[in-house]
């Protein structure tokens, strides 16, 4: 029996597979495909204080090795989510979830994080400072070390649950940003959010996304994610959740060897609703084949 468990700042997952924010809704639809309790956990859709429709249509574009989205944090608002969606999760998921928390001001981040902190459904807070699809706020917090430090510190002071900061890959150097989070008391990091990309319809001569640019996710970003997770692993001591283009058990192990203590699966869920289930089932078999008895032993092992 392979030991797949992994420890995220005290939150013990039975396996390292977590569904990524924005690609899993609040889990309900997936629960109608399979028993989602087989997952290590899942991240809920990013929440802002006010309900948001998000960006104009169209907001999805296909790419050869992934997709672009310019959703723009569509959600029912943090109060509603805390009162309804989080409660409902209990009906089909028995483990703690990870709440993806967004905001446009420091105060809003704190308010939303507190709502997540108070919910018994939530085991860990993922601070999203990397959404490429909202103009002010979001990514503005994720690209400057001083602003990031300040935000993380403030949120940490306001909540009790572990806080992981989800960083953007659209930066010249991830290391100072990772260090700022650690210095500010972040319990962990999540890497990576989407790369900024664009597609144009050559027939209509228009950008496919109404917003022109959007977040690029899926298999095409995997090599960038592996590199960034490894860079962060080499400069901070706090745990890292690795994501970006993972679509198999082999990708999962590769990301963990780069330094990830757990992984998130995003776009793969959208393409195949059974993606996470397949990975959870494949993982122990592949570990056995590679002589891995305890998955936590391979974290950052790559030489």
């Amino acid at each position: 029996m392979v030991d797949l468990s992994t420890n995220l700042s005290g939150l013990i997952l039975t396996n390292p597979i977590i569904a990524a924010s924005g690609t899993f809704g609040f889990g309900k639809e997936f629960a109608s495909f399979y028993d989602v309790n087989i997952l290590g956990s899942f991240c809920t859709k990013g929440m802002t204080y006010l309900p948001r429709l998000g960006n104009p249509q169209p907001r999805i574009a296909e790419c050869k090795a992934g997709m672009l989205n310019s959703i723009g944090l569509t959600n029912n608002g943090a109060e509603h989510i805390a009162r309804h969606e989080f409660l409902e999760i209990k009906n089909y998921f028995k483990k703690p979830v990870i709440a993806n928390v967004c905001g446009f001001t420091k105060e809003e981040y704190i308010t939303n994080a507190k709502l997540a902190d108070e919910s018994p459904t939530v085991g860990l807070i993922e601070l999203n400072v990397s959404c490429p699809n909202v103009k002010q706020g979001g990514i503005g917090f994720g690209t400057q070390t001083n602003i990031l430090f300040d935000l993380v510190k403030a949120v940490k002071n306001a909540v009790k649950k572990p806080v992981y900061v989800k960083l953007t890959p659209n930066v010249t150097d991830i290391k100072p940003l990772a260090l700022s989070c650690e210095d500010a008391g972040a319990d962990g990091l999540c890497l990576i959010n989407t790369l900024l990309g664009a597609r144009i319809d050559i027939k209509t001569r228009k950008f496919i996304l109404a917003n022109k640019y959007g977040g690029y996710s899926g298999q095409g970003i995997f090599p960038v994610a592996v590199r960034m997770v490894n860079e962060a692993f080499n400069c901070v001591k706090i745990p890292i959740i690795g994501l970006g283009g993972i679509s198999s058990a082999a990708d999962t192990l590769e990301m963990m060897m780069a330094g990830a203590r757990a992984v998130q699966i995003g776009t793969a869920n959208i393409i195949d609703p059974f993606a996470c289930k397949k990975i959870v089932e494949e993982l122990p078999i592949l570990c056995q084949k590679l002589g891995i008895n305890k998955i936590s032993e391979i974290i950052g092992i790559a030489k």
Partner: protein
């Protein structure tokens, strides 16, 4: 909402660039107005296509080859197995038709096929209705004989007048009618303006097709709704243009 492996039973061209494909297998329990989402080898995202006709173990779809994906689909050989998500979307709700309403089904172009399953169903339930089908020209007319064979009073309009009434579907009298409409947005809008009430089928670019990514979400009078899971059929009072 379920995943199924369906086998291509047949693919036949209806026009230059419109094809009819029949898929066989465990298709689930379907309703007219619902759609399926097809995984094609070599393409990242699935392709959403409305159900045109169905029975317990087959689905008929009618689609236009507008890009690489639909082109690939149209050229797959008989016998090929496809990974399909089925039972997607809400579908048309017949029970919402008000008593004594005069029902008209209005389809434009590739909005015509989804109305076929609905027409069959209305027939079965002995609900009277008329059909108005709009096309650009006579070369693009599809499914006309199928509707005639159902014994439905069917008016065809063509933009260039090459067949039937010249003009758009709104040439037909839709005032005070309860409509089921499916077609391009300008058509839906025009029908919305004149009809009394009805159900309108929408399209957006979709990523998941089963309600988890918010890619398809639009503003409605009832808040933000997902075209894939809360639609694609919306009632007149839900619509915000």
């Amino acid at each position: 909402m379920k995943q199924a492996l369906l086998k291509i039973k047949s693919t036949v061209p209806l026009t230059n660039d419109v094809f009819k494909t029949v898929l066989e297998g465990d298709v689930g329990t379907l309703k007219a107005g619902q759609f399926i989402d097809i995984k094609l080898k070599g393409f990242t995202l699935r392709r959403p296509i409305s159900v045109c006709d169905f029975d317990d173990n087959s689905i008929t779809i009618v689609y236009k080859t507008v890009g690489e994906g639909t082109l690939a689909l149209s050229s797959l050989p008989k016998g090929k197995i496809l990974d399909v998500l089925t039972e997607l979307g809400n579908g048309y709700v017949i029970t919402k038709i008000p008593k004594n309403a005069q029902v008209v089904l209005v389809g434009g172009g590739l909005g015509v096929p989804p109305l076929y399953g609905l027409a069959k169903n209305l027939k079965k339930q002995n609900i009277n209705f008329d059909m108005v089908l709009g096309f650009n020209s006579d070369k693009e007319i599809i499914l006309y004989n199928e509707f005639l064979n159902l014994g439905v009073n069917t008016v065809v309009t063509t933009a260039d007048g090459s067949c039937g009434v010249k003009g758009f579907v709104t040439q037909a009298d839709l005032k005070n009618k309860y409509v089921f409409a499916c077609g391009p947005v300008p058509m839906l809008k025009a029908v919305y303006e004149v009809c009394a009430d009805g159900q309108f089928s929408f399209e957006t670019r979709m990523a998941c097709g089963f309600g988890v990514c918010q890619g398809c979400t639009i503003q409605t009078t009832q808040g933000f709704l997902r075209v894939c899971a809360d639609g694609p059929v919306f009632t007149k009072e839900q619509i915000v243009w």
